[in-house]
């Protein structure tokens, strides 16, 4: 697997694959990633907010059974290994996106795997918000909606961005696994050519591509989180 360059013919062959498919693989990876992150937040963000505001001591307590159910469902989804979850959920893809193969088919399982993570991430970010500030807003007559949109989310923004960065990294990792069920992108490239066809050069190229993507997202995310944090001193 590490003897990549000893056979010039094979190398040339693999380089050709890389040149012709790499760009498209990156595009597929990115497009799936963007959709998955958006949907994971569409579902996960409100749930994360609910986990904080709806608890017994929260600003808008919800019935205990409801919070309990929500917590159990989230924990359950979080504890099923992604590969298994993907296989269980795949029939759902047929209903939602009309197909069980290809990149679109991997989006529903990915969202289902990722939204519980997002919900927990959002929850923990919002819990960091100083309770005194929430009380101060209540004392000014803020409604629940105003507290969520004007206090909780903006005050937690740097932490939410950090959480988002972790989510993106995790989804990229899941995406690589989704190659197994035919989800396109760098993950599929690595598995199809490398694992199934012994084209290790292609595999490494795809893996390195993923690593670089994760690095880029991580550093951009960290920078954004810092830039948005007004609590840091000595910034201009």
């Amino acid at each position: 697997m590490f003897d990549l360059f000893s056979d010039p013919v094979k190398v040339a062959q693999q380089m050709e694959i890389i040149f012709s498919e790499y760009g498209f693989a990156i595009w597929e990876t990115m497009y799936a990633l963007v959709l998955e992150v958006i949907f994971a937040y569409v579902v996960g963000l409100p749930l994360g907010v609910l986990l904080v505001t709806g608890e017994k001591e929260g600003i808008r307590p919800m019935p205990g059974w409801m919070m309990k159910t929500l917590n159990i469902v989230i924990n359950l989804l979080r504890s099923v290994p992604f590969l298994i979850l993907m296989i269980i959920v795949l029939p759902l893809s047929k209903i939602i996106v009309g197909t069980k193969v290809g990149t679109p088919a991997t989006i529903p399982p990915m969202v289902i795997a990722a939204f519980p993570l997002v919900a927990r991430m959002v929850e923990s970010s919002l819990r960091e918000v100083n309770h005194g500030v929430i009380e101060a807003s209540q004392s000014m007559g803020a409604s629940t909606w105003q507290i969520v949109t004007k206090v909780l989310l903006p005050e937690a923004l740097p932490s939410l961005i950090s959480g988002g960065t972790i989510t993106v990294g995790t989804i990229l990792g899941y995406g690589a696994m989704a190659g197994i069920i035919g989800g396109g992108g760098l993950g599929k490239m690595a598995i199809n050519y490398g694992y199934y066809n012994f084209k290790y050069l292609v595999m490494w190229a795809a893996v390195i591509g993923l690593i670089i993507l994760v690095q880029i997202f991580q550093s951009v995310g960290t920078k954004l989180a810092q830039a948005s944090d007004k609590r840091l001193r000595n910034r201009n």
Binding site: V133, Q138, M140, G141, R231
Partner: protein
């Protein structure tokens, strides 16, 4: 006059079963419009709980909170939120929004009330002038000192044009000089805008400096209530005495002999009394403890002196003290 805030038979119990804490028991307090009303007590006395019951951040277990005679505990959520805009609050830890500039912090309550961005900013700038920080409009809380943060918090509290300002240990996190300037600001706001101020504190000096009336809270109950001078110069409750002169609550032994407590209510200075006592009567007494403050040459507070053991001389001393204007004296041992 109808009180602006009236707390009626208020009780608050936290928890249930074995973990039950009765934080407030049957508390009744009436605050008049335009006054600066102090609530003092030791830590854990229930002061914060009481003040948080006024704007219903804490729901009373029993009792009523009347604002202009209207019971707030009976209001619907939305009505309560409207009333809360008229009862502002400032806190020990300031509770500013860290991710907003000073100006935007002051705009916050106006935003909540649906005031346009332009009008809100204009009003916020005026308020920054009032609290003396016009140059800090674009600073974030992290760039401000404690005193500056509290000034911004005060400006924010004033933004909704409240009738009442609740202050929960608003100066407890500040150094004495800053405390002084914040208290002066509160006094100015009270005088110039007629805003009723309710101050919660564990510091006597805060009450002395700006309050008109004071309630002493002790273990969840009101121990006494009255004009600041009379309560502090002559506390009638045990809790009041403990607060006014903590070191004098120390028990003296029989060997110390008879002891008298002299209370100064601001109509005399403390030095001449003991001196003139020696001059006029030829009897020397020693000071066992004193907790007096000199304000403009007038003494406030209390002093303990040892009395002569001879009962005739003792009588003379007591009579002398009692006849002196501006002090009250009583034998305590």
């Amino acid at each position: 006059m109808q009180p602006i805030i009236e707390i009626k038979n208020l009780s608050k119990v936290f928890g249930s079963g074995d973990g039950k804490v009765a934080a407030l028991q049957d508390v009744s307090v009436a605050v008049q419009p335009g006054e600066i009303f102090g609530i003092i007590g030791l830590s854990g006395a229930g002061k914060s709980t009481l003040v948080r019951c006024i704007n219903l951040l804490e729901l009373p277990t029993e009792g009523q909170v009347l604002f202009h005679g209207q019971d707030l505990t009976g209001l619907k959520d939305k009505e309560l939120r409207m009333q809360r805009r008229k009862i502002s609050m400032i806190f020990q830890s300031f509770n500013l929004l860290d991710q907003r500039t000073s100006l935007d912090n002051i705009c916050f309550p106006l935003e909540l009330a649906g005031v346009s961005r332009k009008d809100a900013r204009k009003r916020a700038m005026e308020l920054l002038e009032i609290v003396g920080l016009p140059d800090k409009a674009n600073s974030y809380p992290v760039q401000l000192s404690g005193g500056q943060k509290q000034r911004i918090a005060i400006a924010r509290a004033l933004a909704s044009d409240p009738e009442v300002l609740l202050c929960d240990e608003a100066t407890s996190a500040l150094d004495p000089t800053t405390t002084d300037s914040i208290l002066k600001l509160l006094q100015k706001i009270n005088r110039e805008r007629g805003i009723t101020v309710i101050i919660i504190t564990h510091q006597m000096s805060v009450i002395e400096q700006i309050c008109h009336r004071v309630a002493i809270l002790d273990a969840g109950q009101v121990a006494e209530i009255g004009e600041v001078e009379s309560v502090f110069s002559n506390p009638r409750s045990a809790a009041g005495r403990r607060l006014v002169s903590p070191e004098m609550a120390l028990p003296f032994t029989e060997e110390d002999g008879p002891i008298a407590r002299i209370a100064f209510n601001g109509n005399a200075s403390e030095e001449p009394i003991i001196a003139s006592l020696a001059l006029d009567l030829g009897i020397k007494v020693s000071i066992m403890g004193a907790d007096t403050r000199n304000i403009d040459g007038k003494a406030f507070g209390t002093m303990l002196i040892s009395l002569p053991t001879d009962s005739e001389q003792k009588q003379k001393v007591m009579q002398y003290l009692k006849s002196h204007p501006g002090v009250t004296a009583e034998e305590v041992q």
